[in-house]
């Protein structure tokens, strides 16, 4: 089996969870990866201080789409303030594959926009 393109990664890529838009929504954010032009937007509905619902949309490679999909699943239900504490290692852990430096930003774009929506922080997760 391929070390990078595992079955569940390809599954998340082909059938991304929580893909789409949410209207109305409470939070939104949009960003891109300047290296490859990948785009990602997110809509979030907040209830009782938690991420009640979340949809992401955009285009990108298997890694970025799968990472966004997996991240979205983890975020739903989380207290909004806890999103700020998620970092690069957390994403890569969730992905469960080895990410080369070249693909790092692909893997992090999902968390970047989701964190952006909840915290206003536009920087890359470290």
């Amino acid at each position: 089996m391929d070390a990078l393109y595992r079955d569940y990664i390809l599954d998340h890529y082909k059938n991304p969870r929580n893909f789409g838009e949410l209207d109305p929504h409470d939070l939104e954010w949009h960003d891109h990866n300047p290296l490859c032009g990948d785009e990602l937007g997110v809509h979030i509905v907040v209830k009782d201080g938690r991420v009640a619902d979340l949809r992401f949309h955009g285009q990108g490679c298997a890694i970025s789409q799968a990472a966004a999909s997996i991240t979205s699943e983890e975020l739903i239900g989380l207290p909004v303030e806890e999103v700020a504490g998620l970092d690069a290692d957390w994403v890569i852990d969730q992905l469960g594959i080895e990410i080369s430096p070249t693909r790092r930003k692909c893997a992090l774009l999902g968390l970047k926009v989701m964190r952006g929506a909840t915290t206003g922080d536009a920087s890359w997760p470290e």
């Binding site: 390809l10 082909k14 032009g37 298997a62 692909c106």
Partner: protein, 412 residues
């Protein structure tokens, strides 16, 4: 003819030490020459031998090393200028093609553009021929306009005429060969029409000089910029310009070597081309580029062009075998250079490139520094294969094999 071209140039492969590399157990197939070409040992050795035997700065050293360095450096300039048929004192060494274009955007643009003026570029330009004009327009109040790129991938001269007829275009800045589509633009005709309409022309030759015979006197543009690292040389750029313009223009970078006399409040400028070469030049790199043009001239630029054409034709023939592939650019291989952009349904270009790499096939994925063109094509990114003298039909076969393998990984 294709087969002849390939067999003639195939002996050159041995000159490129990097082709001995194996990656993941496969021999290297380098298909990213449009980004930067590999270097033959003749180029590497020219620089080494300069460093090991003659290194010194140019024009000022009275001593032997300075004399040798000056001869090697100015000799390289002469051969490089002759290679594109232009005067050597109108041939300026820059950092890269990007800096060459910025030089014009600053030194000519800031002094000559103003509100009501227009700079005309095309939707297929590389960022290096877009952003300098955006900045220059912002500073001067001039307007940036784009010639459209239709489905065919070829510019419309009628549209050019229509825009020129409005009478506001001061400069047309256009790529000679598109780094994405491969389109060979009719720059000679564009320059002629621009001049007739009172506009200057700058040609971005970053993709043309490396792969086809380029005769600047025949093209007769006002500025022509290109870059050594795509032409088998090291990282140094060239700007060729028309004498009257270069004479009139204010310098761009100020500093050592570009001056004649420095008074406290103001200075006067050195003769051409040195007026535009501030500070210590990339001397070894200029010498390396001299060796690269010698190498290309010995191979014969007609043969290089035939080789690129043959490989492109072969790629355009074989790639459609890959299910779900879409190819971009002109269909006619006489009208396109050695670059083939493509996408595959269900697989992002990034993943294509990653999976090709598993078989040591290097292709590029991304926007290729041409975001406006990507929007015109309606894609976020493409994959791209591009060729140089060291590539063979076998490399194209390896690409097709890798792409089919990639589809399998993706379960397509």
């Amino acid at each position: 003819m294709g087969a002849v071209a390939e067999s003639t140039l195939s002996r050159l492969r041995a000159d490129f030490p990097i082709l001995d590399r194996e990656i993941n157990g496969h021999s290297l197939v380098y298909l990213d020459s449009a980004a930067s070409s590999q270097k033959p040992r003749q180029v590497i050795e020219a620089m080494d031998s300069f460093y090991a035997h003659s290194y010194g700065t140019v024009h000022r050293g009275v001593y032997e090393l300075g004399r040798e360095a000056t001869e090697l450096f100015e000799g390289a300039r002469e051969r490089i200028a002759a290679f594109v048929n232009w005067d050597s004192d109108l041939s300026i060494f820059t950092r890269n093609a990007t800096e060459a274009i910025n030089l014009v955007a600053y030194a000519w643009g800031r002094g000559n553009l103003g509100p009501g003026d227009e700079v005309l570029i095309t939707e297929m330009e590389h960022h290096s021929n877009i952003v300098p004009w955006q900045l220059a327009c912002e500073d001067t109040g001039a307007k940036l306009r784009y010639l459209s790129v239709p489905e065919s991938g070829e510019l419309s001269l009628d549209e050019l005429d229509a825009v020129l007829a409005e009478g506001r275009v001061r400069l047309v800045a256009v790529g000679h060969v598109s780094n994405v589509l491969g389109t060979i633009n009719p720059v000679e005709e564009i320059a002629r029409r621009a001049r007739a309409a009172g506009a200057l022309t700058l040609v971005d030759g970053a993709q043309s000089v490396p792969q086809m015979p380029v005769d600047l006197r025949a093209i007769d543009a006002d500025f022509y910029a290109w870059t050594g690292h795509k032409a088998l040389g090291p990282t140094v750029g060239m700007l060729h310009g028309r004498r009257e313009l270069l004479k009139e223009m204010r310098p761009f970078l100020g500093g050592g070597h570009m001056i004649s006399r420095v008074e406290r409040e103001h200075s006067t400028w050195n003769e051409l081309p040195w007026k535009f070469e501030a500070g210590t030049n990339a001397i070894a790199e200029a010498i390396g580029l001299g060796a690269a043009v010698d190498y290309l001239a010995a191979a014969g630029m007609d043969a290089v062009r035939a080789h690129e054409r043959e490989l492109t034709a072969y790629a355009l023939e074989r790639l459609p075998e890959v299910a779900g592939i879409t190819l971009y650019g002109p269909r006619d291989v006489d009208r396109r250079g050695g670059v083939v952009p493509f996408t595959i349904e269900g697989m992002h270009p990034h993943d294509i490139a990653e999976l090709c790499d598993r078989e040591a096939v290097c292709v590029r994925a991304g926007h290729h520094c041409a975001q406006p063109l990507m929007r015109v094509l309606g894609v976020g990114a493409t994959a791209r294969a591009s060729f140089h003298v060291y590539n063979t039909r076998d490399d194209v076969d390896r690409l097709v094999h890798a792409l089919n393998g990639a589809r399998e990984v993706f379960g397509l």
